[in-house]
Symmetry: C2
Subunit: 158 residues, 2 copies
């Protein structure tokens, strides 16, 4: 579990570096599929991880700024870093005994939904990888090589 979060955090950092190398206009240009824009996708990834883990599982009072409040690369990186400071201690403190604990989510329709913590954690992992796959297509549309998605070779396993 922890290794997959570490993978996501490393890949996200690589994508922030990638974003810094291309024309900033490309980061906010409308594209097909997913959320339709590169920078809002990276913002969304950080917000969803933070929302589920700190707001949902931990039940903290959290504030997620709308994208308009953090609509530059530097601000999205700062936002992601702030989220990470709160998310990481929980991830590193993960225990198998947490798997079946239950959190209650309030859906957009106001319905209550119960989810096992283990399900939420895996949902968050998959969510980021899926959106990063979309970024890889958009990168090629711009004519740039995407960040490598390989997990092997990142030094995550010492």
């Amino acid at each position: 579990m922890i290794k997959l979060f570490e993978y996501n955090w490393q890949v996200r950092k690589d994508w922030f570096g990638w974003c810094g190398e291309i024309n900033p206009d490309e980061l906010l240009k409308k594209r097909t599929g997913g959320l339709g824009y590169i920078l809002p996708t990276l913002y969304h990834i950080a917000a969803v991880e933070y929302g589920w883990i700190c707001g949902g599982i931990q039940g903290k009072e959290i504030y997620i700024p709308p994208f308009d409040e953090v609509a530059s690369l530097k601000q999205v990186i700062d936002f992601s870093n702030r989220c990470h400071e709160e998310v990481a201690p929980f991830v590193y403190g993960w225990s198998d005994s947490f798997e079946n604990r239950v959190m209650i989510d309030i859906t957009d329709d106001g319905e209550e939904e119960a989810h096992a913590w283990g399900e939420v954690m895996r949902h968050v992992i998959v969510h980021e990888i899926h959106h990063i796959g979309q970024l890889s297509v958009w990168a090629r549309e711009i004519g740039e090589a995407p960040v490598s998605a390989n997990l092997i070779g990142r030094g995550l396993f010492g």
Copy 2:
């Protein structure tokens, strides 16, 4: 670990169903990013999972047909199912005690590389999710809704 494989297998099956609903020409039309084609991507996902887990970790003699030998939706589904029959028992037999066992990979350059089994298994999980993210963009380019990537709500956690 097992839940993420189950997620991938369920999503892959959903994509095979999706492929059956669209014009077959779309499955082999050249696109931007990733492997550049929908059906070869699904073939590649199955082949990579089979190659690492059955050929690599288990050290079995395996045969992976070139794409040209299975170049229809039905044949790719059959290939994926054949791989799955060999992959699934290993995944369901996974034990934390396997994490640090080591397999030797021979790279395309003939170099030997050692990988922990736990690293390989996570690489395979991430590999599929990443490529599925690419399919989701291509689906929208065709004007179709992609298969849902949500892990929550798939009934994987009973």
